[in-house]
């Protein structure tokens, strides 16, 4: 794994982000060289399996952080490649020529985050959201609750209960109830009012 990381650092300007264990590391690669780095990992590094492409909306940093998670079935190790792309003009090189299945992830990222992958087959086709007019729903500045309330018809009378408070209230007795219960039990067990029953 170390020589793989070393090569990535030297050839693609990668930076080690996290070394979870010997079989799982995360590196970040500049966006313009990320597709080359992924291609190199597939062809030379033995990472022949694309597990997934995922995305995090870093609204504070103004970036989307893509994660290409690759796996090497022969050597049983995984590598995650982080790619930061600007949030205001999100576009990334497509890797559908490396793995045909990548076009599905890219289509989903296009729909859910609005990230463009030029050249990816069918990337602009709707996948789940047919006829979507708003900003992409997985962006963090999209207010899901407000959208749901103004678009669908809320039924009156729906109430929400806090699970922890509800369980404590309905299932577990309070300290006061416990003390009273023990006293009652003691009184019934020792009706004469023995020393044990006083407590």
């Amino acid at each position: 794994m170390n020589e793989t990381i070393l090569t990535l650092e030297q050839r693609f300007g990668a930076r080690l982000e996290a070394h979870r264990r010997d079989s799982l590391v995360f590196v970040s690669v500049p966006a313009d060289r990320a597709a080359q780095a992924v291609a190199w990992l597939r062809d030379r590094g033995g990472f022949t399996h694309l597990v997934m492409i995922s995305c995090v909306d870093w609204i504070e940093r103004g970036t989307f952080r893509l994660l290409y998670l690759l796996s090497s079935p022969q050597e049983r190790r995984d590598i995650g490649v982080y790619v930061d792309i600007p949030r205001d003009a999100p576009s990334m090189e497509s890797i559908h020529h490396l793995w045909a299945g990548a076009k599905v992830y890219q289509r989903e990222l296009r729909e859910m985050f609005g990230i463009d992958f030029p050249g990816s087959p069918g990337v602009n086709d709707p996948m789940i959201l047919e006829g979507w007019h708003d900003i992409p729903p997985m962006r963090r500045d999209f207010d899901t609750l407000a959208y749901a309330e103004r678009t669908y018809y809320p039924r009156e009378g729906r109430s929400t209960r806090d699970p922890a408070a509800d369980t404590a209230e309905r299932v577990y007795p309070t300290d006061e109830e416990l003390r009273r219960g023990i006293a009652d039990l003691a009184r019934r067990t020792y009706p004469g009012g023995s020393k044990d029953g006083e407590s």
């Binding site: 789940i128 047919e130 006829g131 749901a148 678009t151 669908y152 018809y153 809320p154 729906r158």
Partner: protein, 221 residues
């Protein structure tokens, strides 16, 4: 039973009001003329009581289910159809197409993409037809109460005769729901298809409010 005739709440829609019922469908030209363009009409039951009762009795005892699993609740329909809870005991069994079936079970959450298919399938079913809402998601959204893509109330899009609440309701609850539906049919109260025909504009308006790319015919049966 639900009350569909209540006043619709005011909502801001992604589609402007004037475009909602303009009647412009993005229909494939190859499909033009293949579909009926008439509005459905309510069918009043026979005025003779014995005929009416006989029809209701017959309908209640031959409810065929549309085998269209629309959500996670469809997983409860497998034990229902097969040996464990064998519902053919009650004269019900799954049918493969909407044309053959009389009961549509909406199995849980319905996304906007699914509600489009639900509307098409429902309209293709032949009256008398009944709808059972299965699970909390069809009642008020359930755990998808704040979802951007899941409807909250099924009865705003198609008429619902019986709701079975729960997340998920077990097959026994469904069987109880079937018993309730049979009671309603025999009493002549399961008039979902007629309600749909009567309030057709209201339903279409609600459907168009969320189905913004209406690339299907206006009436599908």
């Amino acid at each position: 039973m639900t009350d569909d005739t209540q006043k619709m709440p005011k909502h801001r829609s992604p589609v402007p009001e004037e475009e909602l019922l303009s009647g412009d469908s993005f229909l494939d030209p190859a499909e033009e003329g293949l579909f009926c363009q008439d509005r459905p009409e309510p069918v009043s039951p026979s005025r003779v009581k014995i005929v009416r009762d006989f029809c209701n009795w017959a309908q209640a005892n031959s409810v065929f289910i549309l085998a269209f699993g629309t959500g996670c609740g469809a997983i409860e329909m497998r034990p229902l159809f097969t040996a464990r809870y064998d519902i053919s005991r009650y004269g019900m069994f799954p049918r493969p197409t909407p044309r053959m079936s009389g009961l549509f079970i909406i199995g849980g959450y319905a996304s906007v993409k699914t509600i489009k298919r639900i509307v098409r399938s429902y309209e293709q079913m032949q009256a008398p037809k009944f709808v059972m809402g299965l699970g909390s998601c069809t009642v008020n959204g359930g755990m998808y109460w704040d979802s951007y893509n899941t409807i909250k109330r099924l009865d705003h899009y198609i008429p619902v005769d019986v709701y079975v609440a729960g997340c998920m309701p077990r097959p026994e609850s469904l069987i109880a729901g079937f018993a309730r539906l049979k009671e309603l049919i025999r009493a002549g109260k399961a008039e979902g298809a007629n309600r749909y025909a009567k309030d057709f504009e209201w339903y279409k308006r609600n459907q168009r409010r969320i189905i913004t790319d209406w690339n299907m015919p206006e009436h599908n049966w």
